[in-house]
Symmetry: C2
Subunit: 369 residues, 2 copies
């Protein structure tokens, strides 16, 4: 049995078994009710819980929300973009957006000061979110450290509705930092349903499958907590892009990822050094063809750099047939990347004054001692 650890390095590879184990439904069930989306189409967003509650609200013209948390842990790279695209998908469907900067969690579980966390959240996450299309003016963005008295009180009252056994069975320990961080996350996930947000409403949380334990316990707490009548939060689950060298993509290993703030030159160099599915010799490659499954450049194209399936299919066919060499595939990757990064980094600087104005107006920074 896999034990998922939101704070650990457990790498989930067998998604089907994990879905089976934890009762996550395949996205195919609801794909017809979703707008066309590259990640959903390609099965990169593969599962959900209760997404119907959100889609029904959309169909009935009732309010619904999408919520996600930012764990400030390093540079913002393409692996993080997958969540943002799901936020944008639901934003376009009409969802209220709630965005939480988990600075209490990063302090309690990763020894990041509130000041470091704030810097990371703004520079690495918020600017990139807005550059990617987040409508900040229609977003409830907050730092956990400034979430407000009632928010923290709710998270503490939730403690009565989770036992130490449930906590240890779900997370593997009852470490105080983790316990407090988790209870705070339950309040974060339920925040769109709080009284000052006009009460209960369907809410979807796009997560990597390693975060599912938080979703499961929040659903339990939502059902047990007094008479608040919370709607159990829904969730979607996406596959993790592998690192450029194969293996895990990590914020702390620059060679494993391309940050959205990398220079074009650095990004191209990382593509050149990436693990490919090419063969040892040109002759063998022409004969055997490339292996897209083991090609990290192709993975990057499929996740983020080629929008149209027919074009991606053409590239796959040419690569698998041996007609296209790894160097040629990398060339495509580098061109797409250059276009994307130049455009994105321009938008990012354009976003800066808007983000700073928003922060001045909306967010309180919480206690630091």
């Amino acid at each position: 049995m896999t034990k998922l650890d939101p704070w650990g390095d457990v790498e989930v590879t067998d998604y089907e078994a994990t879905m089976e184990q934890f009762g996550i439904e395949p996205i195919e069930e609801v794909v017809d009710r979703l707008p066309d989306n590259r990640l959903v189409r390609r099965g990169l967003v593969f599962g959900h819980r209760d997404l119907d509650t959100v889609l029904d609200a959309r169909d009935d013209g009732e309010p619904f929300a999408v919520m996600t948390g930012i764990m400030p842990s390093g540079v913002f790279h393409f692996g993080h973009r997958t969540v943002v695209e799901q936020i944008l998908l639901f934003q376009e469907m009409g969802a209220e957006v709630t965005l939480c900067a988990a600075d209490i969690e990063s302090y309690a579980t990763r020894d990041v000061s509130l000041e470091e966390a704030r810097e990371l959240v703004v520079e690495e996450y918020l600017l990139n979110y807005v550059a990617l299309g987040l409508d900040l003016d229609a977003t409830d963005f907050y730092f956990q450290s400034g979430a407000g008295n009632d928010h923290h009180v709710r998270s503490k009252l939730f403690a009565r509705h989770v036992t130490q056994n449930e906590f240890e069975a779900t997370y593997g320990s009852a470490d105080p930092g983790k316990l407090v961080s988790a209870l705070t996350q339950y309040a974060d996930i339920l925040r769109p349903q709080s009284p000052d947000r006009v009460g209960p409403k369907p809410t979807v949380v796009p997560v990597g499958i390693d975060q599912d334990p938080h979703v499961r316990l929040t659903r339990d707490v939502a059902a047990r907590y007094r008479d608040a009548g919370y709607v159990k939060p829904a969730s979607t689950y996406h596959r993790f892009m592998r690192g450029l060298q194969g293996g895990k993509m990590s914020s702390s290993d620059p060679k494993s990822h391309i940050a959205l703030t990398d220079s074009v030159a650095d990004a191209k160099r990382k593509i050149d050094e990436a693990k490919t599915g090419g063969r040892v010799s040109v002759e063998e490659h022409r004969r055997e063809g490339g292996n897209v499954e083991e090609d990290m450049v192709f993975e990057l194209l499929a996740y983020h750099l080629v929008e149209h399936d027919d074009e991606l299919d053409r590239i796959r066919e040419e690569y698998e047939s041996g007609e296209m060499l790894s160097g040629e595939l990398k060339q495509i990757g580098k061109e797409r990347l250059e276009t994307f990064l130049r455009d994105h980094q321009r938008r990012r600087e354009e976003a800066r004054p808007k983000v700073e104005a928003y922060l001045d107006e909306h967010t309180a920074v919480g206690a630091s001692n």
Copy 2:
């Protein structure tokens, strides 16, 4: 080894061994530096930690504080008065007073709703505190549920500085409700030292010895928490009055206690039914004398109803000599009690408008869902 449980029913009887085990100092050490006080004089307040820090501040004209929490768990009886008298002792010495209503704790550990807790705190505790002499205008009184964003954030950040092992070794479990309640108490105990209260200052917390685990871990957190430079809180420890029938005095057992809101008639009846140290027959009593150690009426006189030692000594001698019968001792108790209750209950009604005005002005009631 005794394990003290702030939430349990463990009854401490061997105070000396417990002091030894947990490193609590005898009050005699500092008695010369304290104002004359009935409870201290009679050894009913018997121990302390670091009380010198508070007394030095007093001597140097530096600010210092006294802090206590109210666990809203039932009627306010004479057993509760012992803490109030210590608060008043330090108030008279010039301490800032902080008074916390632990409504989050009573929700998380005793299933009391915030609304019930608020009612209990005002009717059973606050009115009696003020009637007994608390200067509400010079007091920082608050409900945990309305303690403010920064207060709750601090309590959550403290989680990084306590391990699950320390928590289980100290409290016997890492139950989420207890863990959250304890972390909130650490913030409560350190509240007089928070930035909005002009920062670090010596603080004393008068507690029953069963609450010492909170004091110990708060002292550890104070030493470990970032660069706040908190002064480790000091504490005083008092003996628990026994119940009128012998055994434990309990809010939930009316025959075990006299509530400060009991009618004079009920109070007198409870005295009549109290366990005494009298002998089975008048003859034997005259011959053997009464046993003050086992006489709950004498205990009530010693704790609360006879101010002067020489008078208490006279009563003890007459009772032990057999000259005074249990009925006569009870008669003294009933007269003192009637005078005390009539006076106190009048003061209590006089306190009501002041308390209500204070609550309207100062306290926010926190989230209830």
